[in-house]
Each structure stands twice: as C-alpha cells, then as structure tokens.
C-alpha cells in the first residue's frame, strides 16, 4: 500500500505559517516599542530644547544616534521587563523549563538579540522561529494568556510607567507647542473689555438686514443639502460593500470610497477658498463648498447604512426572479428611506452651522457680515448677527432632533 504514494505524502507538511506568526509577533513588539520610545524621545527633546536653549525644535542629537539608542533601549526593555509592545501584543518572556530568569541570562539574551537579522535566514530553512538568543538562553516569548503570574500593581510595571511618562511629556510638550500662556489669560482679560461693553448693547437697527442675510445662509444650506442628496443617494449604492460585487464593482467601490474620504477630510472652509478663486466671491462658492462636502459626508453615512441592511427581504425578492433594479427598489429602498431622511436632516443642521462660518473666507451669507463687523470692531452689530445665528442654529437643532427621533 505504502509504496503507491510518493515519499512526501506521509510526512507532515512544513508549517511555515507558525514560524512566521511567531516572528511577526516579535517584530510587532519591537516596532511598537521603537515607536513609543521615539515618541518619548521627541517629546522630551522638545521640552529640553525649550527650557535649556529657548528654541522650539524636536531635534537634539543626530538622527542615527537617536535610532541606535532607541533600538538598544527597546531590546533592553524587552529583556528586563514587560515592555509596552509586549503588553500591547500580549507577550511575556518565560524560561522554557519554568525556572526563574536570572539577570545574567537576560544579559546574554540581550547580547545575542543583536544576531536576529542572521536568524531570519534560519527561518527560511527550518520553518521554525527559534533565533539564537532564544535557543542559547532557553528563554522564549509566549502569549501572556499562557503565563500565570500574580498581577503586579500598575505603578511597579515598566510599561505603565512608560505610559505615564508618555502622557506627561505629551501634556508638557503640548502646552509648549500650543504656547499656553496662563499669565496672558488671567492678566489681559481687560483687553476684551471693549468687546463686552459693546456686546451688551446690540445694535437692533441691523435686525432687518441680519434676517435677510440669515435667510441667504439658510437657503445656502438648503440648496447644498438638496443637491448633495441628489448626488449622494445614487453614489451611496456604488459605495456599499454588499452591493458592489465582482471586479468592476469592487473597483468602482474603491474609487468612490477613497475619493469621498479624501473630499470629506478637507473642511468646507478650505473648499470655499478654492471655489472663491473659481467662481469669485459671493454665496455661490459657499453653496458649492457645502455641496461638495455634503456629498462626501452623506455618501459615507448612506453607504454605511446600506451595508447594514437586512439581507432577508433582498433575497426573498431576488428569489421571485426580480432583476437587480427591482431588488433595489423593493428590497433595499424601503429599509433605508427613514435613515436616509434622518441623515439628511442631520446634514442640513450641520450645513446651517457651516454656512455661518463659511462666510469668513467670502462665502456670503450672515457669516461674511459677522466677520466684517468683528474686523472693524463693531461688536454691537456683530452681536445681533451672532444672536440671530444662535436662534436659527438652536431652532434647527431642536427641530431636526425631534424629527429624527420620530423617524427612528
């Protein structure tokens, strides 16, 4: 019987994947440690530079010095404690015989760790990830779920101390980077006295003008949302994972999704700057900016909703022999019409807010005159505009949340 099969049939298949998985885990641990240490390095350098040299720079030593120090520190950390990467990936260093690990074994493992690049070659031959620093010292990284140790209090773990250090240095560096100046905050409040003096005396003669401008703003939001829905509703079907199958479908899906997420990442104000160059000042560039951003945002919201529809009705209708168009019309659309409406209301709400600030770059509407009044320091006029904006924003917010609650 046996000789009918070729020789390799009875032996086990080489398990490349296990060796690779072990290697991948250790590589991930190392990368996470290096990233954390580099981040800490930069934060500390910035703070050091600020206080020691009064400069604002992240650089201290040459980059290669930093890299060597960071890599060595990461290796030391992995061998002498639970590093942040080990914690994240869920790995622990244990002795394969279950003995207590002596410091000199850790030192040996650290020294041999530098030969890791050579050990990668052995991975190709033996299909097993057993580098020399593990082989010689008989220490290995295993999943932390396989290690039973009494948990230490967090303030005695090196990884949690590192997290605290990272948070602290981030806080300090953030305060330095953003030029936090508490002295200015508390001693210069009188500089705004003129503003508050005018704010409490609004110039009500501008109410009529304000209402007219406010209507322009609301219409901007309305038109942008309406056009946005008209474009986004069909696009969302192309951006839903479950409706775009096959090579062509997937390509279209990817293109639409990537474009939309890029467009969405650019604030409407920046779009308005571009459109002001294109179609000149006025409300029109504002509408276009809001429209472009709404299309991208609504497509994302809509298609996420489409991806979570119940496949039952769709299959039932498909089983009756309906074509693709009919499936969408009778199986998909009834499920999404209410969420679509509620997303649209939500977006209109956002667009009204956005339309009020888009005026700053020349997008027209009430925002434009508001910012002009603040530029000429006419705060009593600006207050009227601000109050009108507050009223309309509050009204829209209230109405749309009530309607959305009803739509479910």
């Amino acid at each position: 019987m046996k000789d009918r099969y070729y020789a390799g049939f009875m032996t086990d298949k080489p398990t490349w994947s296990e060796g690779l998985a072990a290697f991948r885990k250790q590589a991930l641990v190392l990368i996470a440690d290096i990233i954390a240490l580099i981040y800490l390095w930069f934060m500390v350098s910035y703070t050091w530079n600020y206080f020691a040299h009064h400069t604002r720079s992240f650089a201290t030593l040459p980059w290669w010095v930093m890299l060597i120090v960071v890599v060595e520190a990461a290796a030391l950390w992995q061998n002498y404690g639970v590093s942040i990467g080990m914690k994240l990936v869920g790995q622990r260093l244990v002795d394969s015989a279950g003995r207590r690990i002596s410091p000199d074994k850790r030192a040996l493992r650290f020294l041999l760790w530098h030969l890791t690049p050579l050990a990668i070659i052995s991975l190709a031959i033996t299909t097993e990830w057993k580098p020399w620093h593990d082989r010689v010292t008989e220490l290995t990284m295993v999943g932390s779920d396989r290690v039973e140790l009494a948990p230490r209090p967090w303030y005695r773990c090196s990884w949690s101390i590192a997290v605290v250090l990272i948070c602290l240095s981030t806080l300090i560096a953030a305060m330095l980077i953003t030029r936090v100046d508490l002295h200015a905050l508390f001693s210069q409040a009188s500089k705004t006295r003129r503003i508050w003096g005018q704010v409490v005396r609004p110039d009500w003669s501008l109410l009529g003008k304000g209402v007219r401008l406010l209507l322009v703003t609301v219409f901007m939001a309305f038109v942008a949302t309406l056009f946005g829905v008209v474009v986004a509703a069909p696009l969302s079907f192309l951006a839903a994972r479950n409706l775009t199958q096959g090579l062509v479908g997937r390509t279209v899906y990817t293109i639409v999704r990537v474009t939309m997420s890029i467009v969405r990442s650019i604030e409407p104000i920046i779009w308005a700057i571009i459109f002001v160059v294109w179609v000149r000042l006025g409300a029109f560039p504002g509408v276009l900016a809001l429209f472009v951003h709404s299309v991208a945002d609504l497509t994302k919201l809509y298609s996420e909703r489409l991806e979570s529809i119940d496949p039952g009705p769709v299959e039932a209708i498909r089983a009756t022999g309906a074509n693709r168009f009919q499936v969408i019309l009778y199986g998909v659309v009834p499920q999404i019409i209410n969420p679509y409406l509620s997303f649209t209301l939500y977006r209109w709400d956002i667009n009204v807010r956005m339309a009020t600030i888009i005026g700053i770059v020349g997008g027209g509407g009430i925002g434009q005159s508001l910012i002009q009044y603040t530029r000429v320091w006419d705060w009593s006029a600006a207050t009227v505009m601000m109050l009108l904006i507050m009223v309309v924003v509050w009204l829209m917010d209230y109405t749309s949340s009530r309607l959305r609650a009803r739509l479910g």
Partner: protein, 436 residues
C-alpha cells in the same frame, strides 16, 4: 356622532389642563399652516420684486410692504390657513396626525365645512369668555356648531372605513408640499446667486489651480519657510496638539458639569431644576457659537497664536461634550442606581458606583469623536488668528501673487491635512467601535 367609548386621551379630558393639552396638536397644526402661508406670501413678494419691481420700476430699490398693508397680510394668511383647515387636509394637520370628520367618520359635506369656517371666527372670542366652562369633550365652538370633529387619526384607526386615498397631486397637502419645496428651491437658487454659467465658463480659468493642487510642493515640509519661520510638519503638529489639549481640558471640565445637566441626577426639586436649566442653557448657548468666533475674542484676549485657538476649541468642546455627556447620563439604566440607593448610599456614592461605571465607555467614545472634530476645526481656526496648520495654508494662499508656486504649497498643506485627518478619523473610528 357615533357613541362609542374611546380610549384616547383627547376624547375625554376631565381637567382644564388636560382639555388645553388635548387642543395642543390642533394649535401646532394651525400655527404651522399659518406659517407656511406666510412663507408663501414672503416668496410671492420676493419674486414680485425680482421679476417686476427691480426690472421695471427701480433697479436699486426694494418693494416693501407698506405699514397699512401688514394687517392685510397677517389676516389674509390667517384666513387661508383656516380655509385650508376647513376645506382640505392641510400639511399641518397631516403632520400632527389630525383629520376632519363628519358624523360616523365620513367626510364632511361642503356646507358643513363652510359652516365650520364661518363659525371659526367666533370660536376664539367665545372660547376666551368661557374657557373654564368649555365643552366637556374638549370641543370648540365651531366643532359643535358645524357638527364636525378634528380627531387624532391614530386613536380611531380601527373604526375608520377603508377609503381609497386620492392621488397626491389632487390633495391639498400634496400640492402645498410641492409648492413649499419648489418655492424654497427657486428662492434658494436666486438668493445664493447660483450661476452655472460661471461655474462651467470659468472652469478653464481654474484649471491652473487644480493642476497646482495635484502637484504639491513639499519644499517646506520639514525645512521651515524663512518668511513664515515654520514648516508644514510643525504646523500640523501644532494643530494636533491644540486639538488634544482642548479635548482633554474640555472633557475634564465637562465631566462634572454633565451631572449638573442631567435631569435624572438633579431630581425635581426647585434648586435641582434651576441648576439643571442653567447648565443646559450654558451648553446650548455656547454650543451654537462656533469655535471660530470664540477664536476672534480669544485672539484679542491672549494675542494671536495657538493658545487662543486652544481656548476657543476648549470652550466649544465643554459645551458640546457637556450636552452629549449629560444626555448619556439621562439614558442610563435606573436599576443599579435604585439598588445602590436602597443600601442607604448618599447621592455622590450613587453617582460614583451606579452612574459612572455605566457611562465610561460612551464618554470615551464621545471624547474621541470630539478630538476628531477638534482636529478638523484646528486646521482652519488660524483664519482668525488661532494658530495651527491653517496659518501656513492661509499664508501661502495669500502669497499667490508673489510666489509662483504658492498653490503648489497650498496643495502640499492640503495633502498633509487630508492624510492626518483621515488617519485620525480611521483610528478613532476603530477605537470607538471597540469601546461601544
């Protein structure tokens, strides 16, 4: 009128307040219809101006309603609203689920409707004279006199005869809806000066802009611009840290405030109500003023720079997060609270052991979401002196005349913003998915 017992609240009000409450949907429906007729009147005036007055009478002028005509407008729209209530199924009625019925839930004849319309004019004064002695079923004078009733459709759904509904274009509410949307669209198109000719005509002129934007110039990505004394890298870091600090500070301040703004924590005593409304009022007012406007004030206060931006973002974050947080507190499960209160715990102990464990995951999710928004906002807050990457963006944008590659530099800044915003959006989305 069929004498069947009905369960609905609107059918048998016993106290005065309940009687008034039963009239509330009717009032809202009426106000909505009045408002929509007023809106149509406004649109009419606008179009009259645009197509007649400005073209043929006075190019620079605006036709305004004279003072003596205002009562006519008010009364006219009022009459139209009443007519649409009496003779058709208006938008307001259908939105609030009301319908006019004759005896036995049949449609009323036009005589009944006319009588109803005419009696309506006397209903309010008569009702005002004797509101406390109003009809025991909460009916108004014109209801009684015309023998027709305005009923909530949902209450009597089972008893209604099955009638084929009319086509939407034959109903009052269908036509009205189309008119409202169409007029809004028409006016919107004109007031926002939409001009497709410009859009497409100038497309070739903006081609250079797109060409420059898609060929970004990363010359000053790390090397600081000598004029600006800052690099794109420095700018984006400034933005991220502004958002981080603002979110942290805002979250820390909003956390205790959110309990003061939660109905179920503050209880229903007078003092509790006062604190609740003050906190919620603060949230609502400060939330509706965009952070970019706060940046204008803070730029005066602490000087131009990222700190002004941080303060502006913080203020807006407190209000926005405070509202989200306190809504979350209001929607917690009361079970654990009662269990802890039953052990004789004090109020702060109830909050500490009953409320906080329930809200921590969603608080984290909201905070991450807010950080996302703050990063987006901090990219543009420099427009009014708030600091961040926007400073670099607007600097290059304003140098368009002087620098030949200004738009390419703007393109580079936009690429960096997109990359960072997209990355943070993705990360925070993943984390939020895991938390909730």
């Amino acid at each position: 009128m069929a004498k069947r017992p009905r369960k609905s609240r609107s059918a048998k009000p016993d106290t005065f307040l309940q009687r008034v409450a039963a009239l509330k949907p009717r009032l809202y429906a009426f106000l909505l219809d009045w408002g929509s007729w007023g809106y149509i009147a406004y649109c009419f005036m606008y179009l009259l101006n645009r197509y007649w007055y400005v073209r043929h009478v006075n190019f620079y002028g605006t036709l305004a309603v004279p003072a003596w005509a205002w009562p006519i407008v008010v009364v006219g729209t009022l009459e139209l609203a009443v007519l649409s209530h009496a003779f058709g199924h208006s938008v307001g009625l259908s939105l609030f689920g009301l319908k006019l019925f004759g005896p036995d839930y049949r449609a009323s004849s036009w005589q009944v409707r006319l009588r109803r319309y005419l009696w309506w004019h006397l209903a309010l004064p008569l009702q005002a004279l004797s509101l406390r002695k109003a009809h025991p079923k909460g009916l108004l004078v014109h209801d009684v006199r015309s023998e027709s009733r305005m009923l909530v459709v949902a209450d009597i759904q089972e008893e209604l005869p099955v009638v084929k509904p009319r086509k939407w274009y034959l109903t009052h509410r269908g036509l009205m809806t189309v008119a409202l949307i169409g007029l809004t669209f028409w006016l919107g198109w004109m007031t926002t000066q939409i001009n497709l000719g410009t859009l497409f005509g100038r497309a070739s002129k903006s081609a250079y802009l797109w060409k420059a934007l898609v060929t970004p110039d990363f010359e000053h990505f790390v090397t600081p611009d000598p004029q600006l004394r800052d690099s794109i890298m420095g700018g984006i870091l400034e933005s991220i840290y502004m958002a981080l600090l603002a979110t942290l500070l805002g979250g820390v301040i909003a956390f205790p405030l959110s309990f003061l703004g939660a109905r179920n924590i503050m209880g229903f005593s007078r003092a509790g109500w006062l604190v609740f409304s003050l906190t919620r009022g603060f949230f609502n007012i400060f939330r509706s003023i965009e952070s970019i406007l706060w940046a204008v004030v803070f730029a005066v206060w602490v000087g131009f720079g990222p700190f002004a931006g941080v303060l502006a973002l913080t203020l807006h974050t407190i209000a926005a997060l405070g509202k989200l947080y306190s809504e979350q507190v209001e929607s917690i499960d009361p079970g654990p609270l009662e269990a802890i209160a039953a052990t004789g715990a004090r109020r702060w102990q109830v909050v500490l052991y009953g409320v906080i464990p329930q809200i921590v995951p969603s608080y984290l999710a909201f905070t991450l979401y807010r950080w996302d928004i703050n990063v987006r906002m901090s990219t543009v807050i420099a427009l009014v002196g708030g600091g961040g990457i926007g400073r670099i963006l607007f600097y290059y944008k304003n140098e368009v005349g002087r620098l030949s590659n200004a738009w390419n530099q703007v393109g580079a800044v936009i690429v960096v913003i997109v990359a960072v915003v997209w990355f943070l959006d993705y990360i925070s989305g993943r984390i939020r998915e895991k938390i909730t």
